[in-house]
């Protein structure tokens, strides 16, 4: 094996190394013995020493050692690549040797992580590893953000600090391994800050948490830059210089005089000490353990218990090793029973299962097959149906993820906004376990952010104003998800001032959204805010109020085949409700017929079916026909006119009226016949052929023909446009 092959093996082991994994340690030592190169002699010794200590060490500060080992492996790698550097660095090396943080916590960032010159391009070496790193880093950064918000709530909880520390540590380690020096350096610094906090040497202040959030943002930006470089296939990546600013701030925090905290250094919750494990195993008497512990306290160095026990010949080294292993096992609390699957493959699988369901129904509904009376055949075919249905359910559920992840991301947004606007806002999350299609989760993020921002900015008032209005100073926004009959309902409730109806009416008239003399009912009025270019904010803030917000929200939700509406209680607050199907892959559809064609309406938008009588229909000059349903006057749209094909019903009281709803509006759609309800797999249709012609997609029907899924919003829009053009014509 060549030295470079050995090096690769060594790095591989180093990556997977974790405390207590003695097998890995052994392998690394073996590899090191085989590696023979003058340039690395010295570092080899250091690394050997580190690994040996790790084997002996009873895991205290295990993290630190792994970090040191990784640094050391990196150094060896570096020297192997540039042997001439080894000598040059020899002088520096004394300083560069990984400083033990425990020994010198006050020391600035260990010199092992070299200062990186500003804006020096960094290599993007192994595309696959880098890609893994990107997705991993994003996950970690997200979890850091979540935990940061938690930490602010309970600053005393050391376990939370740990859960922020760990992801930074992982990012740092992997970044270092991939020679991404800037990411490595910044995450290392942040890690140091947290380490200090963990030991109680630094207290959580709003400035500190802002600093960490800033750091996370910079790391995120760097990850994005890295991804861009990777996608472009660039051999190097150049991070922008804003890293320095955050790093300077961190240095300032680290060097600033800190409140002197008594050296309580409450260790974070640790796995059971080795001694206890040994006692449990019966390898050691309790008395013996307490004796050794007493002795340990007296000695200056505080040697690891394991080492002392061996010296005292109380237990064998083997026992200590086993105990360390056991301890390691206990530390891994959760063994994740998940596998990561390429989303593309998942989508393919789901598509194929969708096909299978269609094919199955095509076979079973084939007239020739339906004619078969053979008992055995009928049994077999029903078995096939059962299996395909179960398969479909399982594969659908594979795509569902809890909505909680998305909800939790809102914590940070609320935190940032409330701080910026000087408001006190408490975000309450409910129904986080409700599951939704993972493809939708991503699409849902932006509209949710928009609405949460809107609630923070326009809904919740300033503390003074709230006090004046007899409300608690702290405003509450409740984000809630719940499953309601095969669909998911997400509501955002704030206890703010409610919508400004007068202002909405004013704008509605100005923009021509409402032209009647008579003002509309409150529900309709409130929902005007979803119209394009509608904003009631008198002053444009950098948060919201550019008049694009709610319109964008509505469009995004409609893209997911859902709908959104709002209802406000002036002075008391506002509720936004989003209704969504559980998945975008399958839609619960109502099959309707016009002439010889069949169309699918999303059941989510169907309010009820009405057989109208002649007397229910009224015709208003210039306004088309309306029908009275539950004492409401609803405009009638004939589907045959909308899609421009001949149907069999001439008059509005013939056929069936399907009452559709969207953003608080209702409309009655006349069709020849309602065939029934059916779950259909949505197929994309070439966009150029469906833009605004009322088709949202296609679906393969039971007989193998394509059925078109109608875009409910487009039906509403044509009706409104027709009205407008008629009114304009009259003028």
């Amino acid at each position: 094996m060549s030295i470079s092959e050995l090096m690769d093996k060594l790095s591989e082991e180093a990556v997977f190394l974790d405390p207590g994994n003695l097998a890995s340690c052994g392998k690394m030592l073996k590899i090191l013995d085989k590696m023979d190169h003058p340039a690395i002699e010295k570092e080899k010794g250091t690394l050997k020493g580190l690994i040996e200590t790790m084997i002996m060490q009873d895991l205290e500060g295990g993290d630190v050692t792994i970090e040191q080992i990784n640094t050391s492996v990196e150094t060896i790698q570096h020297y192997l690549r540039n042997p001439e550097l080894a000598e040059a660095a020899a002088a520096k090396e004394a300083a560069a040797a990984p400083a033990v943080e425990e020994a010198a916590p006050e020391a600035p960032a260990p010199a092992a992580v070299a200062q990186v010159a500003e804006n020096e391009p960094e290599p993007v070496d192994d595309a696959e590893l880098v890609a893994d790193f990107i997705s991993e880093a994003r996950e970690h950064l997200d979890s850091i953000e979540l935990n940061m918000v938690e930490w602010e709530r309970s600053p005393e909880d050391k376990e939370i600090i740990n859960s922020i520390f760990r992801p930074f540590h992982t990012i740092k380690g992997v970044a270092g391994f991939l020679s991404l020096k800037k990411i490595n350096h910044l995450s290392h610094q942040l890690e140091n800050v947290l380490d200090e906090a963990r030991e109680g040497k630094i207290l959580l202040t709003p400035e500190l948490s802002d600093l960490i959030f800033d750091g996370v943002d910079v790391l995120k930006a760097m990850t994005d830059t890295l991804e861009k470089a990777l996608n472009e296939g660039a051999p190097e990546v150049l991070f922008s210089a804003n890293v320095g600013k955050v790093e300077q701030k961190i240095d300032m925090v680290m060097n600033a005089s800190r409140p002197i905290v008594d050296d309580v250094s409450v260790p974070a919750e640790k796995p059971a000490p080795i001694g206890e494990i040994l006692v449990q195993e019966g390898k050691l008497q309790e008395k013996e353990l307490t004796d050794v512990l007493e002795k340990q306290k007296k000695t200056e160095e505080r040697k690891p218990v394991g080492e002392m026990l061996i010296k005292e010949k109380k237990v064998t080294p083997r026992d200590v090793r086993d105990a360390i292993r056991k301890q390691g096992e206990n530390t891994k609390i959760k063994i994740e029973k998940y596998i990561k699957v390429d989303t593309h493959k998942m989508d393919q699988l789901l598509n194929m299962v969708g096909e299978l369901v269609i094919a199955q129904s095509m076979v079973t509904h084939n007239p020739d097959v339906e004619g078969i009376t053979n008992q055995r055949f009928i049994r077999d075919i029903s078995q096939l149906t059962r299996v395909t249905t179960t398969l479909q359910e399982i594969s659908m559920s594979m795509r569902l993820v809890p909505i909680g992840q998305t909800f939790q991301k809102m914590n940070r947004i609320v935190r940032d906004l409330s701080r910026k606007a000087g408001k006190k806002i408490n975000l309450v999350l409910q129904g986080e376990t409700a599951e939704i299609d993972r493809n939708m989760v991503e699409e849902l993020y932006d509209p949710l952010v928009h609405m949460i921002r809107n609630s923070c900015d326009h809904g919740i008032q300033t503390p003074d104003k709230r006090k004046a209005n007899d409300k608690p100073q702290e405003g509450t926004i409740t984000l809630k998800a719940e499953h309601v009959g095969g669909k998911i309902e997400i509501s955002i409730t704030d206890d703010g001032e409610g919508l400004d109806r007068e202002r909405i009416m004013e704008i509605a008239r100005k923009k021509g959204v409402w032209t009647d003399e008579e003002p509309p009912d409150n529900k309709t009025l409130d929902n005007f805010i979803f119209a394009a270019g509608f904003s009631t904010a008198k002053k444009v803030t950098d948060v919201s109020g550019r008049g694009v917000g709610m319109d964008v929200v509505r469009k995004a939700i409609e893209k997911l085949h859902g709908n959104v509406e709002t209802i406000s209680n002036p002075g008391k607050g506002t509720v936004f409700t989003i209704k969504l199907p559980l998945t975008t892959a399958i839609i619960d559809g109502m099959l309707v017929k016009v002439g010889s064609e069949r169309y699918i309406l999303p059941t989510l938008s169907v309010r009820q079916l009405v057989h109208a009588k002649k007397k229910d229909i009224t015709s208003v000059v210039g306004r088309g026909e309306t029908v009275t349903v539950r004492n409401h006057l609803l405009p009638v749209v004939k589907l045959q006119e909308f899609i421009n094909i001949p149907g069999s019903c001439k008059n509005s009281w013939e056929g069936v009226l399907v009452v559709l709803e969207d953003v608080g509006q209702e409309i009655a759609l006349q069709v020849d016949e309602v065939i029934g309800k059916q779950e259909v797999v949505i197929k994309n249709v070439d966009e150029r052929f469906t833009v605004r012609n009322g088709v949202a997609g296609g679906a393969i029907l039971g007989d193998g023909r394509v059925g078109l899924i109608l875009d409910v919003r487009a039906i509403f829009d044509t009706r409104l446009n027709d009205e407008k053009s008629i009114i304009e014509g009259v003028k």
């Binding site: 598509n351 969708g354 096909e355 269609i358 064609e597 909308f642 899609i643 421009n644 094909i645 197929k683 994309n684 249709v685 070439d686 966009e687 150029r688 052929f689 469906t690 833009v691 605004r692 012609n693 009322g694 088709v695 997609g697 296609g698 393969i700 193998g704 023909r705 394509v706 059925g707 078109l708």
Partner: protein, 171 residues
């Protein structure tokens, strides 16, 4: 001199069109399609009409679970409409459009053969005397007995008319 230069230049541009073509009949004329663009040839099947689309868009079909649009090439070229026969076929082509590839079906009277067009047989598109918009034509292929029009199917199916359709709708 100049004319010679441009002649050799146009010869070079013509040469890139040599290769295999699938030929088909449309209103007694023979046309060719680059074979690389053709995915498959299928018989006529049930077509679902798309509302509010130009007449040449016949609708969408179910191609093994995929929903693809179908265009009647006769109508697209402004040729007289005829009854579909057993020989009427849908050629499924793959076209590049807006950075992605799309599958579309085109309805033709009859599929003839796959032929090899050599550079000797290629002629530049005449500026006049063709019923078709010259933009849709790659070149003409002069064979022993007939002249075939080699189509730029990408242009035919992503040209102004279809683009205008979606643009008009966007307003």
């Amino acid at each position: 001199m100049e004319t010679k230069a441009s002649a050799s230049e146009s010869k070079a541009t013509l040469d890139q069109f040599q290769g295999k073509y699938l030929t088909f009949m449309l209103a007694e004329e023979e046309y060719g399609l680059e074979i690389m663009k053709v995915r498959e040839i299928i018989g006529l099947m049930d077509i679902t009409k798309l509302p509010r689309t130009p007449k040449f868009v016949k609708g969408v079909i179910n191609l093994r679970g995929k929903v693809i649009p179908v265009v009647d090439l006769r109508l697209k070229f402004g040729l007289p409409e005829t009854e579909y026969t057993d020989k009427t076929c849908i050629i499924v082509v793959e076209i590049a459009f807006q950075g992605g590839t799309h599958q579309m079906g085109i309805i033709v009277d009859e599929v003839s053969e796959v032929m090899n067009v050599t550079s000797d047989e290629l002629e530049p598109t005449p500026k006049f005397g063709v019923a078709l918009d010259t933009e849709f034509i790659l070149a003409m292929a002069k064979m022993k007995d007939s002249v075939r029009t080699l189509l730029d199917i990408n242009k035919v199916l992503s040209g102004d008319e279809i683009a205008a359709m979606s643009n008009a709708a966007k307003v």
